[in-house]
Amino acid sequence: MSRICKKKPAVCTDEPLSNSNICQKMALLRNILSSAYGPTGRLKQIHNNVGGHVLTTSTSTALLKRVDMSGPLLKMISTAVQHHTTCYSDCGLFMGIFTLRLIENTQNNGLRTAAAAKVYKHLVEECNMYLKGDSCGCKVPVDFSSSDSIIALARSMITSKPACMLNSRETKHISSLIAQAFLYSIHCNTSSVSCFGRTVTIGIESQSVSDSSVFPGLLVDVPEMLQPADLERLGSGPFKVVLFSVSLSGDISEVGDVTLEIHRGVDPEHDLLQQLLKLGEQVVMDKVSLFACQKVVHPVLQHYLRKHGVVVIERLGLALMEPFVQLTGAQAIASLCASVPVEAFGMVKEFCLQSCGSRELLQLLPSKDAAVSTMLLCHRNETMLEELKMTCKRAEHVLRLTLREPCALLGGGCTETLLATHITHMSCSKASEIAQALSISHSEFIMAVKAFCSSLQSVALSLDHDGQDCLIDMTYAHRWVPDIYSKTCSCGLVEDRSNLEKTPLNTAYPTFCPVSLKNTDSQPRILDSFSAKLNALNVAVEMANLVLDVKYVIEDIN
């Protein structure tokens, strides 16, 4: 019997941004994100309320994935950032901070949302034009013919995540590994440039970071019953491979939730096992040497196969299926009823045993030019290893994106200060005409520009967490920190000299046109992904405009 409850009426919040509770939560989220930003960012310890594993991180992806938001506006922002990071792997925190600051600044300055939205849209177009243009002062080309700039880009990614807990030597080692894995993922024959290979990342706890390395091919855990003697017996390759994606555990769980009527005297388990053994017989007849399955293989089938000298790898997992297919050229078989078609077989050139600490691994080497490699990452404990694995994956992804657009932006907050200065200068010099074109008042335009640029600057300010001053120089508009040991700006491109005038970033200063640095020998130490930042900037503005435009929040609380 079902009980009928009266439905509760939906809750409607009028002008959500004027609700102090919502604003407070937004400020809290902004605090969380900006305090996590940069190489000295503060870490967050995330765990559930029943004493689960603690995740220590300062990465937006990990943070937002684990943290549940209550309000729909926060959820929307969080989803947008997560979506951005899945596509671009970088600048998630930048986007979050910028979005929330833009909303906050608009609110605090009492700007009309419609007017602000128009100006922001215009300004982001200006930013796009400037960043994509040739005269852009915060862009540097990435030279793929030398490993230096690839490694510099990878290193910037790693150093911006302090929860990886690497010292300088380890950072160097890991950045070169990332570059190496990236190079492995590019096919040797240049005919098919469009397709990247795969890099699989596996982590081993309780080993020193210096034990990390990159292997060509795929590394999987050594199957429980496999002895080195079995491999010797196989002789030399190449070996025939068959791959199943269907579970071969011999159960009938795949029928789903329906009720199954089984006639007494019929034993479906037994029949299924016979079917599996028939499959095994077929595979042995086809002279297969490696039998791999995404899921579980029935122990009786495994026993049968091993008896006939076939190596069995079970429980590969979904994540390894695609790399496995790329490596072997096999097609995953999703049924156990039909015989295996000839074109579904794949090849492996060789098996090797590798060991790292207490973990024994089986290396599968590709027979053809398959750009599959495995990055083996080691760290002293689980929470640090998790962050390292995530960061390395993201860094490699950023390198791939950079190959498409071979340039990078200056890191260390210099892009933000430079961009803010450029936009302020551009807008102020043509304020009246633009305001007229956008059909808003001149003062409104100036205020919106100020809100936009100070939001950009506040991202640069978020890089500091120790109460130090942030400075901007009045010539190149780069970001500086007062540090007696450092002779350059934050990104490392501009060298300090005595007549370089600097002023604190969060004070008012006259607008100026940043001078672009020409004929300099120095290279920026810190680089940011160009496409990631460009997209983050655009989505952030769009998101802020959307949130500012929300008049009602209607929630179904049933």
Partner: protein, 609 residues
């Protein structure tokens, strides 16, 4: 319907009583006042660590932990057991627990040092924050400090060979002569050590102290065992016995006097501790009925089967999913009354009989009915056998592990196993210890007994930590001077590197504080071992040592510290992990608890997102 509707709450780990400056609309430069920071996370870490100070050193004072709800209590005498039993709901406690378990899993020792250092180094970090040093500078300086200490370990490590020679010499003189002799001996060693130190410092930092492959004889091993026994003499004696037994069996001696993989423990309550011993093969406790089967099978070469799973009709291998809704239908009214289970038992017994299997070792449990039937058929079934034991039997007897008894064929059967009853060990509980031995196995069981069953766990832990310390010593080939001697050298080196030119003047402050943390460590060690009566006395003694050292004398340990050695890797890893933990907490500012619903009482004072 179960929807994930939790929210997240935030607890600040690090707070600044400086109000948050809103950067967007402020026009002032810098903050004039020094922010008084308060780091709750580091304070928590220090507090938890302080509860374990009595676990440092050889004289561990056990603690009782009482569970108020269940009403029972456990006796713990190590950090890993303590953290296992106390409830740590905060993330810092949880991180500490994870870190300690990781160390325990690999080394079975060094957790006391890890927790102690995490505590005192938290205090160092807190003090640095109070003095206005930035997190980045603290990190750099403390990392440098650790590097100095690790370098000390590298330089002052002695080869196990040297240690065992030393031990042999110690054993010879009569007791009257001994103390005198010992003193001069250590003096000379100290001199040599400090000379080594000075000499080696000239070489590159990657200078390898020991290059030749050590071939350790049993004699050496006993000396080394004594050096790393850390006060657990009776446990170490068991380890040594195991070691001797193993090397007697495996004459090929692949340069490995102790094979830790081939070591099993069997706990027997109710027998006095002196009766603990080491036996060849796999020893386990069985019921009297099963023991009678053993008596029957005694003295014969038996056939064996190994089952990785349960011995029951209901058991299915891992990854097998049962369909949720199955209805068995029938079109006949009178079915044969034989149940599925009966039929399965018949099948299983037929298989066992067909291949004349006498012994079945299973990793899981066996059904009661099957057990009864096997007793009648004189087949010995042993449940709950560890995977490592099954693996050993598999390689030694040629048996192939199966998941189902019914799956057995002639290839799966192993041969050459003998069984024998060992001892009626507890009259009350009707349990008998039996040993199962396969030909040429180096598997050895340490039978650990105690008349106090509450102590059994601690004794087993002690045994494993001794075994791992000895194993690690032989793998490393090097040892460090124990009883605080290495730490004294660290203090000395930290002081010395303070005097050298430093890039950052604040680094000197941090190194000084780290040296003080070591002073705390050594003094606690001295206090716990009873060589001083108060910490202040210990500090005076250490300061005296330091002055002597500056005057050119070698660091010497007090009398009861002589001949105590520590493992190099265990120690350095514990230090590294402790610093990792402190850094993780130091850099954290927020604890986020997920899956909480708004308005939950416990979190009422926290912020919701």
């Amino acid at each position: 319907m179960c929807e994930d509707t939790g929210e997240s709450v935030f607890r600040l780990i690090q707070t600044e009583n400086k109000t948050h400056v809103d950067f967007a609309d402020i026009t002032m430069s810098g903050s004039a006042t020094v922010a008084q920071r308060c780091h709750i996370g580091l304070q928590q870490l220090e507090a938890i660590a302080a509860t374990t100070h009595s676990f440092l050193g050889p004289n561990k004072r056990p603690k009782f932990i009482q569970d108020e709800d269940a009403g029972d209590a456990v006796l713990v005498s190590s950090c890993s057991r303590l953290l296992e039993h106390i409830e740590l709901d905060g993330s810092v406690g949880q991180l500490l627990h994870e870190m300690v378990q990781a160390q325990q899993k690999v080394f079975h020792s060094g957790t006391g040092t890890l927790v102690f250092l995490a505590g005192v180094w938290s205090r160092v970090a807190l003090e640095c924050l109070n003095r206005g040093i930035t997190v980045l500078d603290i990190k750099t300086a403390m990392r440098n400090g650790l590097d100095v200490c690790l370098e000390v370990c590298k330089q002052s490590a002695v080869s196990v060979k040297e240690v065992s020679c030393q031990k042999l010499k110690e054993l010879k003189p009569t007791s009257a002569l001994k103390s005198e002799n010992q003193d001069s001996e250590t003096q000379s060693l100290d001199v040599r050590l400090s000379q080594n130190l000075r000499l080696k410092l000239k070489h590159s930092r990657h200078f390898n102290l020991q290059t030749e492959n050590t071939q350790t004889t049993p004699n050496d091993v006993s000396g080394i065992a004594q050096a790393v026994s850390h006060g657990c003499d009776s446990s170490m004696r068991l380890v040594l016995q195991a070691c001797k037994l193993q090397s007697k069996i495996t004459e090929d001696a692949r340069n490995r006097p102790l094979d830790i993989q081939k070591l099993v423990t069997c706990l027997i309550p109710g027998m006095s501790e002196e009766k603990s011993c080491v036996l060849h093969g796999f020893v386990t406790l069985l019921s009297v009925e099963q023991a009678s089967v053993v008596r029957h099978l005694q003295g014969q070469a038996l056939k064996i089967a190994l089952v990785n799973g349960d011995l029951s009709e209901k058991y299915r291998h891992m990854g097998f999913n049962r369909p949720a809704n199955v209805v068995h239908i029938t079109d006949r009214a009178n079915m044969s009354s034989v149940s599925l289970e009966e039929r399965w038992i018949e099948d299983a017994l037929r298989k066992l009989h067909e291949f004349s299997i006498d012994v079945v070792l299973a990793s899981g449990t066996a059904g009661a009915k099957l057990k009864d039937r096997t007793l009648g058929a004189n087949v010995l079934v042993i449940e709950g056998v560890k995977r490592s034991v099954l693996n050993d039997f598999s390689t030694r007897t040629g048996a192939i592990m199966v998941s189902y008894v019914t799956q057995i064929d002639e290839n799966c059967v192993g041969q050459g196993v003998t069984v024998s009853p060992w001892r009626d060990c507890s009259r009350k509980k009707d349990l008998v210890a039996v040993s199962i031995v396969s030909a040429s196995t180096s598997l050895v069981t340490a039978v650990i007994s105690s008349s106090l069953s509450a102590k059994l766990q601690s004794l087993e832990d002690q045994f494993w930590s001794c075994a791992h310390r000895l194993h690690q010593a032989l793998t490393d080939g090097k040892l460090l001077h124990g009883a605080g001697a290495t730490e004294l050298l660290c203090i000395q080196q930290l002081h010395q590197s303070r005097q050298t030119e430093m890039e950052n003047p604040q680094e000197s402050v941090v190194l000084e504080l780290m040296a003080e943390a070591w002073m705390d460590y050594v003094s606690t060690l001295m206090l716990n071992s009873g060589s001083v009566v108060s910490k202040s006395e210990a500090w005076t003694a250490i300061a005296h040592q330091m002055r002597l050292y500056k005057a050119g004398e070698a660091i010497s340990r007090d009398a009861d510290g002589v001949g105590v050695y520590d493992n190099v890797t265990v120690k350095t890893e514990a230090w590294r992990r402790a610093l990792d933990l402190v850094f993780l907490v130091l850099q954290s500012d927020t604890e986020i608890i997920t899956g909480v619903s708004e308005g939950e009482h416990v979190y009422s004072e926290l912020m919701y997102l």
